[in-house]
Symmetry: none
DNA sequence: GATGAATGAGGATTCATTCAT
DNA sequence: CATGAATGAATCCTCATTCAT
């Protein structure tokens, strides 16, 4: 008679199994929705519903919607940089190969995944969450820039790259990736197939331009395979 | 004939000027706030207050907050493209110079002005305003891409640029500018001076990389002045 | 250039002529709208617009919307009762004829005119305007009931009518007329032709029933013309 | 199996009863207030307060104030007509008795209850809610008229009533009842005891007049008890 | 007088958050 | 722990009323 009773057995069974999964499911649901609609336009109840729990449960795990937001951001800023820096240290090939590899790897492990939503989120909401913005700068921007800077410096040091301005050269690499991310999560998600971007082709083209832009004249002629992505296993990265 | 006529001229003059000024003041205030805080987090009353009027007055000129938002977007998408296309047609120098000029001009006339806030806005809110997203694609994205495509094609046709993929080559130019815009209106507006971007230097560096990336080997050696911005007057553009 | 100037000449010409007509035009417009939509749902600006003046002008003539409402009610409760009582005093025919005449006259001079809207208005809004309700009782209900009571009493005194209860007998006459009025201004104004009431036929039928109900057995057979309305001139009644 | 089940029954019992009761409490409060003050002048918060809940709760059960209004109307138009038609079919006495019974029963089961407020409401607000007006015509006006028409037709067929015009004869019965309802909920609720109507006496008087008006001469002499109400149990009617 | 731009109190509605069950 | 009914602060928007012109 009361539909709750019917559900209870199922709930009893599942609850134990899912109990510890809850926060993760909530964070995933929240990331999706925050990315799609923004912080303010996302309703707590929607997040709970998408995570398959009730409104009350959401607040059991997160003190407030703002805390949920912060948790979403923190959760998805996995500290990949140690692993990535280790890869840098061990990388054997040319710096052109390294840069190509890095950009493709970024797409495979970040850009193409839900984690890329965090970038969109930070760009959209940073000014309402200065504390998070600072956190993001510390955890992502600075390490990321540093890693890119190391790559460029390596190229220059080895005579592979022209002596470009490191600080702004970093953004020549970063900007196309960030733009792709933003596009994917905003205007690119609406209408217009004529403006659609095919990530692999887009990235290949950017790599092509960049390497021509960075490399010393002698190196201008790149083997075409350089822009192809060879999927090195990225240590310490659990995201598919 | 009737003393009213005398009064009316005065009234027409003063009140009309007021009435005509209001929407502009409100749109300016709204642009500021929407860019700063996002659509949802901006209160109608704040916009009114910043424009120096009361809540009610805002709704006298815009049926709803959503209409205000749409008006803000439309208002700031002045049809610069005809003038820019005309400039393209009349441009005398090399395509490298043209590209350099175009990027610097974009910064001076768009990026550095409040109009750049619209880009941030569209990226942040597109998914909540699909109609506007379509409108923006029609009015901005497509014409913008087309103009950049014409520049690249000119370079290729004249043997100045390598035969790069036009569609994605466009984004090599676009992405650094879009990233600068997003950055300026989001994370760049918070904390950290170490990550601060100096627009002129940033753009000069991107031009440097791009031209090296686009140009044919023979042209690889650019005169350093190419990355300096010479302020051509932009016809039909009233923005400082 | 300023459209006001163009209108001014016309305004100058008309203003003198219309100046004293204004309040009347406003009251007429207000009556229409109050009847149609009720007090609260009627906007001051609508009233002004229908009267062909500006919002400001309305408040020049009526201190507030509530005052306007009161004025509308007061204005339309013309003191017809002295004239009607005089007619009663001078009436020559049978009381059946008198009753028939009175009901038809009421329709012609009140029910069919905008004045009937006042009844609708009082029924709908009385509880929000107790002061007006009292006024209406004094000026309309009591004199109206008294007049009907005199008619019934005359019929009884002359042996034409059965000795019915005067107080409630009055409502046997009143109710059909009030119902017709309410109907006309509410549900009757919406949809359904199958429930449409043809006032003349409706009133004729009510007169038929009432006279059969009131008259003494001997008088039961009425000449059929009794239910036809002969348009006696109603002294002191300016309404068409 | 799981202690939750035990809790759930209690919760189901108590909370569900609460949840089921809420809408009714709100509808009752809303009916009161809408009848008293009209739709527009009734504040949502007042309704909630009278129902003993908060503003927010009201909107938990009704999407908007307008939906609340519609629900109030629909709720109070219980389908009494099948039961009433059944009574008609089984009625044994004279048609005069039947009519008398019907009018008294209407008062006892509708006129005297809160349901009569709906009539007032529809008359007052019909023009602002055309859909509801149509609904009301379908659900109340037409079935009601049809039932009354059946009664009159029965009287005529059995030679008890004069061959009156059925369509308008219906309103001879209806009008006094409708007027009583309107009166009770409008002017009658204000001031003046001298114009007070005692429902039982009022109805008795109307019955008296109507029967005299409808009946054939031979039947003109009615037993005085006919106008007294004998409270037949009204099948399927739960209202006191 | 007349106008209509401006005002801001008032009311509908939303939604994060709480808490009894 | 989980639930979802209840809350009320916050916000959009309306419209009677004012007042400079």
């Amino acid at each position: 008679m009361c539909p709750l009773i019917q559900q209870v057995e199922a709930v009893c069974a599942k609850r134990a199994r899912r109990k510890e999964a809850r926060p993760g499911e909530l964070l995933a649901a929240a990331l999706d929705l925050f990315v799609e609609k923004g912080f303010a336009a996302t309703k707590a109840e929607e997040v709970a519903a998408r995570a398959g729990v009730s409104k009350g449960t959401l607040f059991l795990y997160f003190k407030s919607k703002e805390e949920l937001f912060k948790a979403v951001v923190r959760e998805n800023i996995s500290g990949n940089f140690p692993a990535w820096n280790a890869e840098f240290d061990n990388f054997q090939g040319s710096t052109a190969e390294m840069l190509s590899y890095a950009m493709n790897a970024w797409w495979a492990h970040v850009g193409a995944t839900q984690a890329s939503g965090i970038t969109k989120l930070m760009m959209s909401e940073a000014r309402n969450f200065p504390e998070l913005a600072a956190f993001y700068q510390d955890e992502v921007i600075r390490p990321g820039n540093a890693l890119l800077a190391r790559i460029l410096q390596r190229g220059i040091d080895r005579g592979e790259f022209r002596p470009v301005n490191i600080k702004y050269g970093v953004h020549s690499v970063l900007a196309p990736l960030m733009f792709l991310t933003m596009w994917k999560h905003s205007l690119g998600a609406c209408v217009g197939q004529d403006v659609e971007l095919v990530p692999k082709d887009y990235i290949a083209a950017q790599i092509d331009t960049l390497l021509n832009g960075f490399c010393t004249p002698a190196k201008t002629t790149l083997s075409p395979t350089l822009t192809q992505f060879t999927p090195y296993p990225l240590t310490g990265d659990s995201q598919a």
